[in-house]
């Protein structure tokens, strides 16, 4: 027993001293072990949300909304493994990303695995201190739908003297039908995200993004997504059985999505805007077969302005005051001869708030949201307070 303890202590001692010596060399990043190699980071979003209403009382909700660990490993200069493991609402465990990346050249790499679909700003850049407001935008939640990640392969590269980057991706699509319909008029395609959890695929979809950074202080993006949703009705399907095929065809929709976005940052001023439109086809057949109320066109956009009130002071802290207007409509259009437009789904949000950055990657946020929709329903107000960290 005693020799075993001594042996273990000796081994642990050697291990820890190697680690301590190695980390003493590099203070810029959190790296365990060597100069490069294992790379660990993370982010967290902790929220307080409370609906405010003059007539009725609502309980507050306090939630460790997201806790994410990056775990990456650089095998050599060209090959890396990137992963993000996530706890959502404390009990839901997900993998947000898990892919192998290989640089064929510095400005060209191929990637394979579970990856983020490059649609819109927040699906790609969602570390909490990088955006204003406690929660992600509702457009990104309902129209994009974030966090949208699927399995596939991609290439990305940069051209035009590092001013234009592109990403081209083939991935599995949304689960649209698994015995019953999945898409809804209210949440659009959101419930169909497969997230790499035993995803299935009938045929791959195509996603792309182009980012242009040639104009100083401005970052412009264009994203596209084309494909059809997946359906379990195609599993074990006899392609010579016309009725079965017609039936299966009613369980899928075609998706044509396009987004443009822009970010401007100079000195204390930050401006941000995004516009996303999704054209969905075959929705009448889908709605008739599944009993759902999916629209044929979804549209969302927002415009946001922020200003760092501490920019003139000699401090690393930032106090960002911001305001944002969002409009997202999952029933912008419906297919003729089918369901009718539900104007409750035409939603508008106005948000004003503050973010106090205490250090690079640590922020307190507070904001007030006024949500209304196209009907004559009264508006809903909500106050949000949160902590946002990224390391």
């Amino acid at each position: 027993m005693k020799t075993k303890t001594i042996r273990k202590t000796l081994i642990m001692g050697i291990l820890f001293s190697t680690i301590i010596i190695a980390t003493a060399q590099n203070t810029a990043q959190k790296i365990i072990g060597s100069n490069q190699g294992l790379h660990i980071g993370g982010y967290g979003q902790i929220d307080y949300n409370r609906t405010i209403n003059d007539d009725l009382n609502y309980n507050a909700k306090l939630d460790v909304h997201r806790l994410v660990t990056f775990l990456g490993y650089n095998f050599n200069e060209k090959t890396s493994f990137v992963s993000e493991l996530e706890f959502e609402h404390v009990v839901e465990v997900y993998v947000e990303q898990a892919f192998l990346s290989h640089n064929i050249r510095d400005n060209f790499s191929i990637n394979a695995g579970l990856m983020l679909i490059p649609m819109g700003i927040q699906n790609l850049y969602h570390e909490p201190p990088t955006f204003n407001g406690v929660e992600r935008t509702n457009i990104d939640k309902y129209i994009v739908p974030t966090t949208w990640r699927e399995m596939g392969a991609s290439v990305n590269g940069r051209i035009m003297d590092n001013t234009l980057s592109y990403e081209l991706m083939l991935v599995n699509g949304f689960n649209g039908y698994d015995g019953e319909g999945v898409f809804t008029g209210n949440k659009g395609l959101r419930s169909g995200r497969q997230k790499g959890a035993e995803s299935y695929m009938t045929a791959p979809d195509f996603a792309s993004r182009f980012s242009y950074v040639g104009i100083p202080n401005l970052n412009l993006g264009l994203s596209t997504y084309f494909g059809e949703s997946e359906s379990t009705a195609y599993n074990g399907l006899d392609l010579s059985d016309k009725n079965a095929v017609a039936s299966a065809d009613s369980t899928i929709i075609g998706i044509n999505m396009m987004g443009i976005d822009g970010r401007y940052q100079k000195g204390a001023l930050q401006l941000r805007g995004q516009y996303i439109v999704a054209d969905l086809s075959n929705t009448n057949q889908y709605n008739t077969f599944t009993g759902k109320d999916l629209g044929s066109k979804m549209l969302g956009y927002y415009a946001e302005a922020g200003y760092n009130l501490l920019s003139e002071k000699e401090t690393n802290n930032e106090l960002i005051a911001f305001a944002r207007y969002e409009n997202y409509n999952t029933h912008k259009e419906v297919e003729e001869g089918g369901i009718s437009i539900n104007s409750n789904y035409d939603r508008k949000d106005v948000i004003i708030g503050l973010g106090l950055k205490l250090a690079k990657g640590a922020m307190f946020k507070i904001d007030y949201q006024i949500q209304s929709n196209g009907n004559s329903n009264p508006r809903t107000d909500q106050i949000n307070i949160g902590t946002a960290v990224w390391f």
Binding site: A22, S34, G37, S101, E167, N219, Q265
Partner: protein, 174 residues
């Protein structure tokens, strides 16, 4: 007697030492980037030096902390270094050229591997480091614009350049 000792040693060695070896391999598995061995980077370093100092007859000499002196006719006219820093998950290599007072004359990104944050490769943005001589890290950072969507790379590069410049100032003053 010898047999049992050997048996004990090999039992000791087998399980725990394997774990130790794996950890050590993880520690030392990454080969450090050697810019001199990368022909493309070596050519770019030399092209930038000869452009800045308007010379094809300079010589370089390795000194401490990965710095090199640039000399013309036995006289030091400047310094350079090819450090590495991290973008989000991957490493990038870049070049800093200084005059003989440790003032930055040029910053150039040599190898940028990550798909995000490549905005820092933009020469117009990198110009903000030229002549940025502050000894206060806050002031040094404030003279360079932030870039939305490239926060990690921007901060990583700023920290790295500031640290290396401070090192060079210490070396020169010795």
């Amino acid at each position: 007697m010898v047999n049992t000792t050997i048996h004990k040693i090999s039992a000791f060695l087998s399980k725990d030492i394997i774990i130790f070896l794996i950890m050590s391999l993880l520690n030392f598995s990454f080969i450090n980037y050697d810019w001199g061995k990368d022909i493309k980077s070596r050519d770019r370093v030399h092209k930038n030096i000869s452009d800045i100092f308007n010379s094809s007859t300079y010589t370089i000499n390795s000194i401490s902390h990965d710095f090199y002196t640039i000399s013309e006719s036995e006289r030091i006219v400047g310094y350079f270094i090819v450090p590495s820093a991290f973008s989000k998950y991957k490493k990038f290599d870049y070049l800093i050229i200084y005059n003989n007072f440790a003032e930055i004359l040029k910053v150039k990104i040599l190898n940028y591997r990550e798909s995000h944050g490549f905005e820092i490769c933009n020469q117009r943005w990198l110009k903000q480091f030229i002549g940025n001589n502050s000894d206060s890290e806050f002031e040094f950072n404030s003279k360079v614009d932030a870039i939305s969507g490239a926060t990690i790379s921007v901060n990583s590069l700023k920290t790295s350049i500031f640290k290396k410049t401070q090192n060079l100032k210490i070396i020169i003053n010795e």
